[in-house]
């Protein structure tokens, strides 16, 4: 009897939770965007366009994830794009100029990304792991990484990439692009990692309150270095996928990542101040961003509007985040989160 009376209330609570979650509202926005695009351009949902969108979403989501890992710990990483650019060039150069096999080139590329992350992490940890120092440090290292990239390449792309490598960008498994598979696997790993591993919880604890984390015995400096290493790795994966998709390693890979690296996680419900993340939300945020930009192309809207609209979207995203926080504070939900 008691189970019978409990069951509906439990369901109701679940429903209530779903309604309140950011994924619900972002999902609604995605459906709305799709309907609008479908009404205005019926061929928007062709298999070809689906593949294009899926690939761009995959890369955008990984770029967002790279930023989300740092946001989780209360920092910022404005060098995500610069790391991506350097990884793309190293991977491409290894194959084109030095003739290394695909696997080794990718491994060295990703190792470069991790190394860049460790450099960021070490400098930031040394100057106190605060949000301000992470912003300024990565601003400076971004310039160093981009400079190395341009110095190595003399600003010319690597074109002669092996077919097997390009296949990563063009191939499909079970009629789903390989890029999408890779993204899903990485997102699941990190989503689970933040939920169930002590490392993930520690990063979130640092983001929630550095002082409290330090006092409860978390080595904040070590956590900073590890989270930047992971961020560099994910930025590297995004870059390798992008180079595979483009079929050439351009030095300007990543140069336009800064804005949507913040936008994707923030739209998806990750808190800018740290301590709260949403990996699924980051994918949903990436879908929103790509639908809007891809939709604009389909609707023949001038590319001149791109910057303006992207800026407005991210401002809207943080405004919503802000309202959400205020509401949560009012309802006392925020207390229970910690």
């Amino acid at each position: 009897m008691s189970t019978l009376t409990k069951a509906p209330s439990k369901n109701k609570m679940l429903l209530e939770n779903i309604k309140r979650s950011s994924n619900f509202s972002v999902g609604g926005v995605i459906i709305l965007l799709m309907v609008i695009l479908w009404v205005m351009k019926p061929d928007f949902f062709s298999q070809a366009n689906f593949n294009v969108i899926a690939k761009i979403v995959s890369i955008t989501a990984l770029v967002g994830l790279s930023q989300m890992i740092i946001l989780a710990g209360g920092g910022m990483n404005v060098s995500v794009g610069a790391i991506g650019g350097l990884v793309g060039i190293v991977t491409g150069g290894m194959m084109d100029v030095l003739g290394f096999p695909v696997v080794i080139a990718i491994v060295v590329g990703l190792a470069t990304g991790m190394l860049c992350g460790v450099i960021n992490g070490l400098i930031i940890a040394k100057s106190g792991s605060s949000g301000v120092s992470s912003f300024l440090t990565t601003l400076a290292t971004a310039s160093v990484f981009t400079g190395l990239n341009l110095g190595i390449t003399k600003a010319t792309p690597f074109y002669n990439l092996p077919e097997t490598f390009k296949y990563i960008g063009s191939g499909s498994i079970l009629s789903i692009p390989i890029l999408l598979w890779v993204m899903l696997i990485v997102i699941v790993i990190f989503g689970m990692g933040f939920k169930y591993t002590s490392l993930g919880r520690q990063i979130l604890a640092v983001g929630g309150n550095v002082k409290a984390a330090e006092l409860s015995g978390i080595l904040v400096g070590r956590i900073t270095v590890i989270s930047h290493l992971l961020s560099g790795l994910v930025a590297g994966i995004a870059a390798v996928l992008l180079v595979a998709r483009l079929g050439s390693a351009q030095p300007d890979v990543g140069s336009d990542w800064m804005l949507f690296s913040f936008a994707a996680p923030l739209i998806g419900g990750t808190r800018l101040a740290g301590g709260k993340i949403n990996a699924t939300g980051t994918v949903l945020g990436a879908i929103v961003l790509v639908l809007i930009s891809n939709g604009m192309v389909h609707l023949n809207i001038d590319v001149y509007w791109m910057n303006l609209i992207q800026g407005l979207i991210i401002l809207a995203a943080v405004a919503i985040d802000r309202i959400r926080t205020i509401n949560a504070e009012r309802m006392g939900v925020r207390k229970s989160e910690y």
Partner: protein, 321 residues
């Protein structure tokens, strides 16, 4: 001994950057051929002048412990707008300059208003405004370029008085006004107090929201000025004006003894910081180093500047204790 020397230099605040400027200038004079040529010094003077104003613009918001990432876009918008006023609408140069400066100020004011009213993280606001402002300029001009600017306007960027570029004199004038504003007027002290501790300032009866608005408005005004002067120097207005200023805007004030966390600024230090950055880049050009490496170099410089900032801060802390 080495430690003591470092501490002594830090104690003198801008001594370190002054010494660096001298040492590097002497080195470049010995190593390269053209460094002291009239042509090079003239062009260097103009670069320093504009870099210094860019540094002032960032210094204004650093003084309250915030950043202005939209500074480059503000400069671009203002430069384009002023050029359009003169070229398309044939508005007299002086009037166009005044309107342009006002536009820069308004862009800064909007930024301050959003920060004060919404409570959203200032970093994200200035980041998205950078994109929005550039977007507005792109949409309004369709990436057009304005290159038929009046000769009177271009003279600002080209002419010299007694071999000193007018641009440099303008920068000195701005520096004097800014120094008086920051160090002599009550509002300047209030800005610095807000930067040192917003809470403490608020409880001592300072209207901190008004102070934040003022700091961002002046930052916008200075960014706009830098944009207009850069257009005058180049002789044409294009959207790329200001797009690569972010790094130097931080480096110039921080190298020159301004503290990142707010509450302490040095106007003359920012000029010296701008000098150091400009001379070093000039040196790289004279040494025939591929320009692709410049960006890496700038990044290392900025990192070094932050380390100096950190040393300085820990020194200040020690002294207080």
């Amino acid at each position: 001994m080495g430690r003591k020397l470092i501490n002594d230099l830090i104690k003198k605040d801008i001594a370190s950057v002054t010494i660096a400027v001298f040492v590097i200038s002497i080195l470049l004079t010995m190593v390269t051929e053209g460094f002291t040529s009239a042509f090079n010094l003239d062009s260097l003077g103009r670069t320093i002048a504009i870099t210094a104003i860019v540094g002032f613009s960032q210094l204004m918001v650093l003084s309250i412990g915030q950043f202005n990432l939209a500074l480059g876009s503000m400069a671009g918008v203002t430069g384009m707008f002023t050029a359009a006023l003169m070229e398309k609408y044939a508005i007299p140069v002086l009037l166009a300059l005044i309107i342009g400066a006002l536009i820069g100020m308004i862009l800064g004011y909007i930024q301050g208003l959003l920060i004060v009213k919404t409570g959203i993280n200032p970093f994200i606001i200035t980041l998205s405004l950078a994109s929005i402002y550039l977007g507005i300029a792109t949409v309004a001009t369709k990436s057009e370029m304005y290159s038929n600017l009046p000769a009177g306007f271009r003279a600002i960027g080209k002419a010299s008085v007694f071999h000193v570029p007018i641009l440099f004199l303008i920068t000195l004038g701005v520096a004097v006004i800014l120094s008086v504003f920051m160090y002599r007027l009550p509002i300047g002290r209030q800005i610095l107090a807000t930067g040192a501790s917003e809470r403490a300032a608020y409880f001592s009866g300072i209207k901190t929201s008004g102070i934040i608005l003022t700091a961002h408005s002046i930052s916008g005004l200075l960014a706009g000025m830098a944009g207009i002067l850069q257009v005058a120097r180049l002789g044409s207005a294009q959207l790329s004006v200001g797009q690569d200023w972010m790094l130097v805007s931080f480096a110039a004030p921080v190298l020159g003894a301004t503290i990142l966390s707010g509450g302490k600024v040095s106007v003359s230090g920012a000029i010296l910081g701008a000098m150091l950055m400009s001379i070093m880049i000039n040196g790289l050009v004279l040494l025939n180093i591929n320009s692709n490496w410049f960006q890496a170099f700038l990044g290392v410089m900025l990192l070094a500047a932050f380390q100096v900032d950190r040393l300085r801060l820990s020194f200040v802390m020690q002294k207080k204790i």
